[in-house]
């Protein structure tokens, strides 16, 4: 498939390498949000190399939102990013959700399909938030088993994202980064590494964010997220409504030194600024990526 002059490979299937080396890792993208539709389709976002759409916003609608997503897909690569797969819940996997997700995947042919390593509901109720999991063997095995089933159903690998959190369970048996690495290995899935979430958690739970990054298996990481957050005084709140802060930029550079560049997305979900402000951040992402690539750090697999 050729989208807007960019070479777009087929969706990555189960038997393909974890990181598809035929696809450019140097791309910078934005979230596909209605607030920016007018600018995007008015030609003001040409330099955005891919868009990421929230899966649920297009699964249950056949109107204007889906029309715009398909229109965008005809022009640029689209990634699908879910918020309600509910991977860590003790509820049964929602077959209805999976069927709808698969229909959307078949329709859009996204390059990457991702969701969060967390739970979002229980007792058949979805709470529309990303709740932390206990980092214990039992929940690790639980997540591995469920991700494997999800991937079997979808017929492709998914990427799981590390979430921001504000509380830790007393019963934790391992660090978050160990949990993520073990889940990814056990389920043979990919990782969407959210650099801002690593930083937020490092402040909230007092750990060294570089230690987190160093532990993550780079060969499973297929995408980075960057975002802003809110300083609540005693802790950081992952709000996606501010510009990216310097420590996150620094951690992004550190991450690329460790494992190379990956398609990198800037998430903005509230207090939307003019598109140009996001494009300025996007250009900086691109500059950093190219800087690291020039130093030979592209797709370093540890």
């Amino acid at each position: 498939m050729n989208a807007g002059g960019l070479s777009v490979g087929p969706p990555i299937s189960m038997d393909m390498p974890l990181v598809n080396f035929t696809q450019s890792s140097n791309r910078a993208g934005l979230g596909f949000r209605p607030f920016y539709y007018k600018d995007i389709f008015g030609g003001k976002a040409q330099e955005v190399e891919f868009f990421e759409a929230i899966t649920e916003n297009y699964m249950d609608t056949g109107g204007r939102p889906l029309y715009y997503l398909e229109k965008m897909r005809a022009e640029k690569p689209v990634f699908l990013h879910g918020v309600s797969l509910n991977i860590g819940s003790t509820d049964e996997l929602n077959q209805d959700y999976l069927r709808s997700q698969k229909r959307l995947i078949d329709r859009i042919e996204p390059e990457i399909v991702s969701d969060h390593l967390c739970w979002t509901g229980a007792h058949s109720k979805n709470f529309f938030d990303l709740y932390p999991l206990p980092f214990i063997r039992q929940s690790l095995d639980h997540c591995v088993e469920r991700i494997s089933r999800i991937q079997d159903f979808l017929g492709r690998r998914i990427a799981v994202e590390n979430v921001s959190s504000y509380l830790l369970f007393k019963d934790n048996e391992m660090a978050e980064w160990e949990f993520i690495a073990e889940v990814a290995k056990g389920a043979d899935c990919r990782i969407l590494l959210d650099i801002n979430n690593v930083y937020v958690n490092s402040v909230n739970h007092a750990f060294n964010p570089q230690e987190f990054i160093e532990y993550i298996p780079g060969d499973r990481v297929v995408q980075y997220h960057l975002a802003g957050h809110t300083d609540m005084g005693d802790f950081l709140f992952d709000t996606h409504d501010h510009p990216i802060v310097d420590p996150v930029w620094e951690l992004f550079s550190f991450t690329m030194e460790q494992m190379g560049s990956r398609p990198t997305l800037i998430e903005r979900d509230d207090k939307f600024p003019e598109l140009e402000e996001l494009l300025t951040e996007l250009r900086y992402v691109k500059t950093l990526i190219l800087h690291h690539t020039a130093q030979g750090n592209q797709l370093v697999v540890k």
């Binding site: 709740y131 369970f169 909230n204």
Partner: protein
């Protein structure tokens, strides 16, 4: 599981479950999750029912919303659909009829906006003579509404007091915009039966004596808004 059971039985507090954070209290952080849920659900409900929100006082709306969410309502995967059962909840809990009808109307607007429509639509010109045994198929985004209150005049101007008056209408989506217009009781009956996969002849009979001019006018309008997707012979 042991933890959950202990917590449920009251033998365990949240402080036994969560680590004391490096900075501040776990309660403040716990509140972040709780408040997030409150804000998101409230915003979602208000997005689906903006007119109803304006209609009710702030307190009444907040009470209705929180009672609804505390009931046995479905919490769907999509936050945008959280309010779908509100009209039924209102009906079961003694809300005013006019407010229930307003809620139904707003829900239908929402459903119409998101419906999966066929890309194929028919124009009246393609079917010069429609057989009375024909069956019609309509876009999923087309909704028929009825109210025992002056819903449409109230929607037009909220200063119009609610009064008892039967009103009927069609909600449809054209070029991704959701619109509506009012119809007569006969037209409503006719379209309701026709939409339910009955033949044109049966639908006309169900609607009672129908002025032919009125019928051709209605059909012209229905085709013009591109809601007819298929006409099949019996």
């Amino acid at each position: 599981m042991k933890l959950v059971k202990s917590y449920a039985s009251g033998n365990l507090s949240s402080s036994d479950i969560f680590e004391t954070p490096a900075h501040g209290s776990w309660q403040a952080r716990f509140e972040l999750y709780a408040n997030g849920l409150r804000v998101r659900t409230k915003e979602s409900m208000e997005e689906m029912y903006p007119r109803l929100v304006r209609e009710l006082s702030g307190d009444d709306w907040n009470t209705l919303g929180s009672d609804y969410l505390a009931s046995d309502v479905k919490w769907p995967r999509n936050l945008n659909e959280l309010g779908l059962e509100l009209p039924e909840f209102m009906a079961a809990n003694g809300s005013k009829e006019c407010h229930i009808d307003l809620a139904k109307f707003e829900r239908d607007l929402h459903l119409s906006f998101n419906a999966f429509d066929s890309k194929e639509t028919l124009s009246l010109e393609e079917f010069g003579a429609i057989d009375e045994n024909s069956h019609f198929e309509f876009q999923a985004s087309m909704y028929l509404i009825s109210s025992n209150w002056n819903l449409f005049s109230h929607l037009k101007d909220a200063s119009n007091e609610w009064t008892k008056k039967s009103e009927f209408g069609v909600i449809y989506r054209l070029n991704f915009k959701v619109k509506y217009f009012s119809i007569s009781k006969d037209e409503f009956n006719f379209l309701s039966v026709l939409k339910n996969r009955n033949s044109l002849g049966d639908s006309l009979n169900a609607a009672g004596p129908f002025d032919p001019e009125q019928l051709s006018g209605l059909l012209a309008k229905i085709f013009a808004i591109k809601v007819v997707t298929k006409i099949a012979a019996a």
